[in-house]
Amino acid sequence: MAVIIEVLGWGGKRRKYFKVDADQVSIGRGYDNDIVLSDPHISANHLRLNACGEGWSITDLDSLNGLQVIKNPSTDERIFTSGAEIKLGRTKLRLVSESHPLEDTKMLHRLERDTSKLNRLSVWLPLLVMVFVTQLTSVYTSTLAEWEWKNTIPVIISAQLVIFIGAIFWSLVGRLVRQEAHFLGQYSLILLASLLFTGCGWLLSTLSYNFSSVLFGDMAQQLVSMSILFLLLSANLALATNLSSRARWSGCAAFVGVILIIGSIGQMKSWDEFSPFPQYSSTLSAPPLLVVKGQTTEQFLADIVPLFQLADKAALEK
């Protein structure tokens, strides 16, 4: 009966495997063994496997560091059946038979199938130009003083550098995990997210300027940026790793959750803290962004009356 011996790496992943078609298999560091392992903690002739019904029996050949059983599906502890894991020295081995069941074949992620579309210069370049233009516009409209290129270029270059480093990081991860870098694809994803982020930010701030509703307030802005981060991360992961979609979603959710928690801890200090200064909305946008009509003075005065009751209530709480 053939036996497959898998050498396991980090996280139980298979690093390499040996297939031996014999009833007796010897394992050790010595070159006379059927399976030769290089771990210095393994003895020259460490152990021997003997086929025995549906499994194998193991004989320790008086090794220095012995044998440690990690997992054995068999009910008889002297017999090791397919799927058993043992440890010799520092090396973990799994014994598998040819008929060992396999996991279902995974479908390629949509993004991966379309990756050829994304991983193209004709996608990346227009995106890059668009991001460049939005950044330029955003810096231009937020200056207080005379426009000077020397003040603008460092800002834009450093933002582009951050995006570039992000793309490098993910393509390195892809190269290591899947032997596929998808550099332009990763780059395009980050550019796309940055465009989305800027667009949503502008839309929300214009809405919140016109309609003072909590729907468009700081909370909404945070929620939107976290959602974009979540989508971006899970897309990056889908391109760079083999994670199942469930693992990917939950990993990204956990990451975004941690960021939210850290953010809230930072704000916790100011909760319930007295301030002698009023916290009011000071946003003023150029006239083209104002679409609502103002109320009359009388309406405004009527609208602020409830503030007095609110303050009275706060005063009673002391």
Binding site: S275, P276, S282, K293, G294, T297, L301, I304, A311
Partner: protein, 427 residues
């Protein structure tokens, strides 16, 4: 010869002048010396004793206004004992080092006055002047500056100062911490004012003696000490703001030009306006002109809390070399930078509650209006109000209007806001 004689005459005149001048100084010193000798037993050091540590926390001065041991001082001297009677008591120390207990019987927080009663006081009392001295008359302030012992400070009476709604006597002389609550007397030893504050450089302020007379007769008419000091203070603040705003609303609210806009001019003689612009700055990219008005009324509540101020401010902006987006960025930064002009702490007031919205004048001018207020925790129905308005429909020009009212009722705050929005116009 003739020349010599003339020279002699000049020298003689000069000598006579010096003699006269020194004799007048001598006379002044004599009066100061006599007043000091006559009244030193009547000037008391008022001390606020912390019950936990047993030591004095604050000192000031005070003087008896009648033979029963009714003593006048400043509210700010005894404030700790008035607001935290369970933690502080008041005592006096005479010039002969006699110590006695004092009981707070009444206050006038608006004029920074307090009356305390000594139980077995046998010192002399001081006479209150019935007439205001003429401007330029020498007067003498007495008190215990910095715990250095009784001191007399000669100075000049300069009349009632009109720069504040609550009248104060302008005294040209140096008042120092610890002299608060002491009397300032004329040559005959009659009290013309109560030492209260200094603005440095020989400019000091006294509470006019009329205010003390009013408080004393009010107390005598009632015949009993005030039980609930907090309520008394709240009533005084409420009545004072009512009187002040009724008077303000009765006036004609005049506009004055600022840029292309009309803004509120000096509302009353006690409201002083100042202004400026960046027009002389050659590097300026935009034009800014401002006008700020305020009344110098700070009603002392605690060391960390003052009320009673009224201030308003207007800023006219023109984009000049900035484009519309840059101009609005600058404008927004300016708009976000407003704060109330009075101090207040967590013990005294709530956090600000704010509301904002767009308002439109009949002329079509659109503005963003912000209204913020905080309530007083110990004095119900009194608020600090901050109002802010900025025009939002012109690409290159803008007007910011702002006011702060400290210690105002809801009704007066709303009326003031309405009138303010009406007068400050930019057609």
């Amino acid at each position: 010869m003739i020349k010599n004689r003339e020279a002699f005459a000049v020298v003689r005149m000069a000598l006579i002048g010096i003699l006269l001048w020194s004799s007048s100084i001598c006379a002044q010193n004599d009066i100061a010396r006599n007043l000091f000798a006559d009244y030193k037993s009547a000037i008391l050091q008022i001390r606020i004793i912390d019950l936990t540590s047993g030591s004095k926390s604050t000192i000031g001065s005070g003087f008896p206004v009648d033979n029963s041991g009714l003593i006048a001082t400043n509210y700010h001297v005894i404030q700790l004992a008035a607001t935290k009677p369970q933690q502080y008591r008041i005592e006096y120390l005479t010039e002969t080092n006699k110590v006695g207990e004092l009981r707070l019987v009444d206050v006038d927080v608006i004029n920074d006055l307090a009356l305390v009663q000594a139980v077995d006081f046998d010192g002399e009392s001081m006479q209150l002047a019935n007439r205001e001295p003429e401007i330029g008359m020498p007067v003498y302030a007495l008190g215990n500056p910095l715990d250095l012992g009784l001191t007399v400070v000669p100075g000049t009476y300069n009349g009632i100062n009109r720069a504040s709604y609550h009248p104060r006597v302008h005294f040209t002389g140096s008042l120092n911490p610890g002299m608060s609550g002491g009397p300032t007397m004329d040559r005959e030893g009659r009290v013309v004012g109560i030492n209260v504050a200094t603005a440095g450089n020989q400019i000091s302020f006294l509470v006019p003696v009329r205010r003390l007379q009013a408080l004393v007769s009010d107390y005598r008419a009632r015949g009993a000490a005030i039980e609930n000091m907090q309520q008394r203070i709240g009533e005084q603040l409420m009545a004072d703001q009512q009187q002040k705003f009724t008077a303000l609303f009765a006036r004609n609210w005049q506009g004055i030009g600022l840029g292309e806009a009309q803004v509120l001019d000096e509302l009353a003689p006690f409201v002083k306006c100042w202004g400026g612009s960046n027009s002389s700055d050659e590097k300026a990219q935009f034009l800014s002109a401002d006008r700020s008005c305020r009344s110098e009324d700070n009603i002392y509540m605690t060391s960390n809390f003052a009320t009673g101020i009224l201030e308003y401010q207007f800023i006219w902006l023109e984009a000049d070399q900035l484009n519309s987006w840059q101009f609005y960025n600058y404008y927004e930064r300016l708009f976000g930078d407003f704060a109330p002009g009075n101090r207040a702490g967590e013990e005294d007031v709530t956090d600000f509650q704010c509301d904002h919205g767009f308002t439109q004048k009949p002329s079509g001018r659109q503005s963003k209006s912000v209204f913020c207020l905080r309530a007083y925790k110990d004095y119900p129905k009194l608020y600090d109000v901050l109002f802010l308005q900025g025009s939002v429909d012109d690409k290159e020009r803008a007007l910011i209007s702002h006011f702060t009212l400290a210690g105002v009722s809801q009704e007066n705050a709303l009326t003031f806001t309405g009138k303010f929005m009406e007068v400050s116009q930019w057609q």
